[in-house]
């Protein structure tokens, strides 16, 4: 199972050899996934899947046609290239067409762990068994999910550009609920190495949160000082970072736009201690060495069918990643620039890439709690959606544990809340931060980041939620 660099290159070269178009891009992804799911104190589903995605884009200097397939016979590959050329001929000219990349220097990123790639159902069962034993011993209703993903990716074109990347990812999350359904706790972790995830500690954290959040007292909505656990901070970041686009800012559609035109690059908008980067080389969650989509665009097998997703993937496709500081000691230091926009504003393109990291303080979350006169401790958030893209006002809900803090101590659990809050203002209102830690992989929401817990004032909760 898996590819060496040479095997991936051989397949890419074979596909490129069938091309008759002026340019041809190939993206390859061989993916092996395994998972075990445990819910309501029972193991539910468990599986091992292997899938392949071959994306072929034929290009003629004005137009692009893209086909995704997964069959590898000589005939299937020849047909795929021919079909992508037909699509190219059918497509209209692209006013933002960018020429294919010449050979790039992709940095070395070490992200593959053999033990994770070869983990069996029995290996995955260990964490699940801990969840089961702890939940039964403590009379909780427990859920847990463990997944490993091994991926071999390649990018290639007719201009001799080639990149290869092998990676593994493991994630473990757990939710414990009290039998009377008045308490719920969640915890999770992620790593390129399955064995580095402390499943015991995650299950115990979730169980402790469930027990200590039981029978919450009613508390009115309003503005509160909050202590956000690192996962809650991570949950708010993707919508914030979407605004760090030079194109969107220049078009007047971001909080980083100036009224009437121009952007706020270089302006100090946040306190001195706010520094946010993306770092593809972060050992806790390394990233692919090139930017853009890895082959999976839309469609394919997946059951829904999505429409236009913006200009993210193709516009950055294939650029080497690097470490970027988006906010440097409170100053807006970087805005991502896609390849076309870079030609219009005459700067170098700058892709989003890699794991988001945020500098923090030196203490623990307990120190943040101890320094809080009155506030709320939040485990994480759920169903976050933008309400106003201009100022990044978001709405969403707290979940799996909210506690009132009084005079530096956790007083008692309280109900969940809906928030209406911009992370822009949250960053401006930070009072203190803990050491950064790596967060979990949450399906459909946030990728792991390395961020601190924070204490911020004036976080607006607009209504109560009865959900537990």
């Amino acid at each position: 199972m898996g590819w060496t660099r040479e095997q991936a290159k051989q397949l890419a070269d074979q596909i490129l050899s069938y091309s008759r178009a002026r340019d041809c891009d190939v993206r390859l992804d061989l993916v092996q996934r395994t998972h075990t799911r445990f819910a309501a104190n029972e193991v539910t589903t468990s599986g091992a899947m292997v899938d392949l995605n071959i994306s072929v884009s034929s290009r003629d200097g004005k137009r692009t046609g893209t086909l995704q397939v997964n069959e590898t016979s000589r005939e299937a590959l020849k047909k795929a290239v021919a079909r992508s050329e037909e699509l190219m001929h059918s497509a209209a000219p692209d006013a933002e067409y960018m020429e294919d990349l010449s050979p790039q220097q992709y940095p070395e990123v070490h992200a593959f762990n053999e033990e994770t790639a070869s983990a069996t159902a029995l290996d995955r069962r260990a964490g699940i068994q801990q969840a089961m034993e702890i939940s039964r011993a403590r009379k909780l209703k427990c859920s847990a999910f463990v997944q490993t993903t091994s991926r071999w990716s390649a990018i290639a074109n007719k201009r001799k550009n080639f990149g290869f990347f092998a990676s593994t990812q493991a994630t473990f999350t757990s939710t414990a609920r009290t039998q009377d359904a008045t308490g719920s706790g969640w915890a999770g972790g992620a790593s390129p190495r399955l064995l580095d995830i402390s499943t015991q500690s995650i299950v115990e954290r979730a169980a402790k949160k469930a027990e200590s959040s039981a029978n919450p007292r009613a508390l009115d909505p309003g503005k509160y000082t909050v202590v956000l656990e690192p996962q809650a901070v991570a949950d708010l970041m993707p919508n914030l970072l979407f605004s760090f686009s030079r194109r969107i800012a220049d078009q007047g559609k971001s909080f980083l736009s100036k009224p009437g035109g121009g952007n706020r690059l270089g302006e100090k908008l946040f306190p001195d201690f706010v520094t946010i980067r993306s770092d593809p080389f972060n050992a806790q969650w390394p990233a692919r060495p090139w930017a853009g989509g890895g082959g999976a665009g839309m469609g394919g097998a997946r059951g829904g069918f999505l429409g236009f997703g913006g200009f993210g993937g193709a516009a950055f496709e294939g650029l080497p990643v690097r470490k970027v500081t988006w906010i440097d000691r409170g100053v807006v230091n970087g805005l991502s620039v896609d390849r076309y926009w870079a030609t219009r504003v005459k700067v170098e393109p700058l892709p989003f890439s890699g794991t988001l990291t945020m500098e923090g303080g030196s203490g623990k979350i307990e120190d943040l709690i101890a320094g809080t006169e009155r506030g709320l401790l939040i485990t994480h958030f759920w169903y976050i959606r933008p309400v106003n893209p201009q100022n990044v006002e978001l709405t969403g809900l707290t979940r799996d544990g909210v506690w009132l803090i009084e005079k530096g101590k956790i007083a008692y659990p309280v109900n969940n809340f809906r928030f209406n809050q911009s992370p822009v203002n949250m960053l401006k209102n930070i009072e203190a931060m803990s050491e950064p830690v790596v967060t979990a992989l949450k399906d459909f929401s946030s990728s792991p980041m390395v961020v601190p817990a924070i204490r911020a004032k004036d976080f607006l909760f607009s209504s109560k939620s009865d959900a537990v």
């Binding site: 468990s46 497509a91 006013a95 969640w186 839309m298 394919g300 999505l306 969403g396 969940n416 959900a467």
Partner: protein, 483 residues
């Protein structure tokens, strides 16, 4: 071969799905060039065609699953072995063996009725259509950009099980739409979307949508929306058009009546439900005029097909009757957990390499038996808002507290709809909201609203379904100003 091997390896049940998927998206983004102001048109034409299989077994009372893109005898044999080993490895963690509700073994086929194969329509025609829409919308002074797409997909599914079924299905789905955006640079932005119903049908759905005839209206409405005054917040009556209400139904009723949530199977990700099994047959979710059906057979609805991924024939079933919660969405391994003898046919996997599990069918609101018109609904409102289209949407993990925006808003004063207003969202709690429903439009106003992409599960899967409804009125709902 796969089913025999699974039985020999110790499986008490096995099924295999061998599926081929073809999807195509044609889209066009039109926006002004930064330097010259000239409109740049950026098209994308992409197709995908993927093929693979998934084998599911029960061995020693537990599920095991394995899948691959490589459909060969050797790979199927390897996958069967893996699936059985996985099931046996996990079996010691089960407190009791899985039970499957009975199913009638069939040999059958199903095909979405289509008039025009969407894959036979040239991409040049689709791009030309989107270009016409963009050109017309951008003729309206103040429109900044337009994006549009036509997305289409066909699933060719083969299912065979150790119960003796062999089922072949071709399911076509199609979704066209476009969005115009207006911007006051650095201050505010609004968008307006024309979203014809996403359906299981052929290209005829795109043709009857008549997108170009809506381009100028959409352009004018987005410009008016940008200039519109903000709403005055407070308790107001809402008249919700189907294009808006479909998503509210999805989040508040569709998800809360999924049995896997109610049992805690989704507790670690999508959440549980306030509609716990003890409420079945008793709990008043809404007013007496509120009736919902679960359904996978209604013509053109996105979840409609012949059989689910358990091999169960699809059907229609009541979910809410006269405001009372009466039915869950179920699959074969859940029915006995609420003492039911059959599955409602809600099993689905979004790919050959995804594990089938309980997914939402079409969930639709029955229209009024009276010929109630939109004017009737509006005339009964002294201070309210008429809402069209989808905006921001968020609901808690037990489906109580929600906040919804919209795509366009008109003030209602003294029984009449007035000018557009802006920055509207409303918050409510599912049982309070549906209990506040005091009027539903008649059958002539009923529309079949398709949702393209609903996420659930671990690993996450995507599903599409429809939520038909007529315009409906809700009394004294909390309205917020969002800017």
């Amino acid at each position: 071969m796969a089913l025999d091997r699974a039985k020999k390896a110790g499986a008490s049940y096995a099924d295999i799905r061998i599926n081929r998927y073809r999807a195509q998206v044609v889209n066009l983004r039109s926006e002004p060039d930064f330097a010259t102001g000239k409109v740049n048109h950026v098209p994308t034409a992409s197709d995908s065609e993927t093929f693979g299989f998934g084998v599911r077994v029960i061995a020693d009372g537990a599920w095991g699953f394995a899948a691959s893109y490589s459909v060969t005898e050797d790979e199927i044999a390897r996958a069967v072995k893996d699936a059985v080993e996985i099931a046996k490895a996990n079996a010691p963690l089960r407190s009791s063996p899985l039970e499957l509700a009975p199913v009638v073994a069939v040999h059958d086929t199903y095909r979405t009725p289509i008039a025009k194969d969407p894959f036979s329509v040239p991409i040049t025609d689709k791009l030309a259509l989107l270009r016409n829409v963009a050109d017309d919308a951008m003729k309206v002074s103040g429109v900044f950009s337009v994006t549009g797409f036509i997305a289409q997909r066909v699933e060719h599914r083969f299912f065979a099980s150790s119960d003796g079924s062999q089922i072949e299905q071709h399911v076509y789905q199609i979704s066209p739409e476009f969005t115009a955006t207006a911007v006051e640079k650095g201050k505010k932005q609004k968008s307006r979307t024309y979203r014809p119903h996403a359906v299981t049908a052929g290209y005829e759905a795109v043709e009857r949508a008549k997108m170009p005839s809506h381009a100028r209206r959409v352009g004018e409405e987005v410009v008016n929306h940008l200039k519109a005054p903000p709403v005055t917040p407070g308790k107001k009556d809402l008249v919700l058009l189907p294009t808006h209400l479909g998503l509210t139904i999805h989040e508040s009723i569709g998800h809360s009546t999924e049995l896997d949530r109610a049992l805690g199977y989704e507790a670690n990700v999508a959440g549980t439900s306030f509609l716990t099994p003890d409420k079945l047959g008793k709990f008043q979710v809404g007013s007496e005029i509120v009736n919902f059906k679960g359904d996978r057979i209604r013509k053109e609805s996105l979840s409609t097909c012949g059989y689910d991924d358990d091999g169960v024939k699809t059907r229609q079933f009541p979910i809410i009757q006269k405001g009372i919660f009466v039915g869950y969405q179920t699959i074969r391994d859940q029915a006995h957990l609420i003492s039911q003898k059959e599955s409602m046919g809600c099993c689905y996997a979004d790919s050959y390499d995804s594990v089938p599990f309980q997914r939402m069918p079409n969930v639709w609101l029955e229209p009024s038996s009276k010929p109630t018109t939109l004017a009737d609904l509006i005339s009964g409102v002294d201070d309210g808002v008429l809402i069209d289209g989808r905006g921001s949407y968020s609901i808690d993990h037990q489906r109580y507290n929600f906040q919804f925006g919209g795509d366009a808003f008109w003030e209602i004063k003294g029984g009449k709809a007035g000018p557009m207003i802006a920055d509207v969202a409303y918050q409510s709690r599912t049982p309070d909201f549906w209990s506040a429903c005091d009027a539903i439009g008649g059958e002539a106003l009923w529309e079949n609203i398709g949702l393209n992409a609903d996420g659930k599960g671990e690993p996450g899967q995507i599903n599409a379904m429809s939520h038909g409804c007529a315009p409906s009125r809700f009394r004294q709902i909390t309205v917020l100003r969002t800017a």
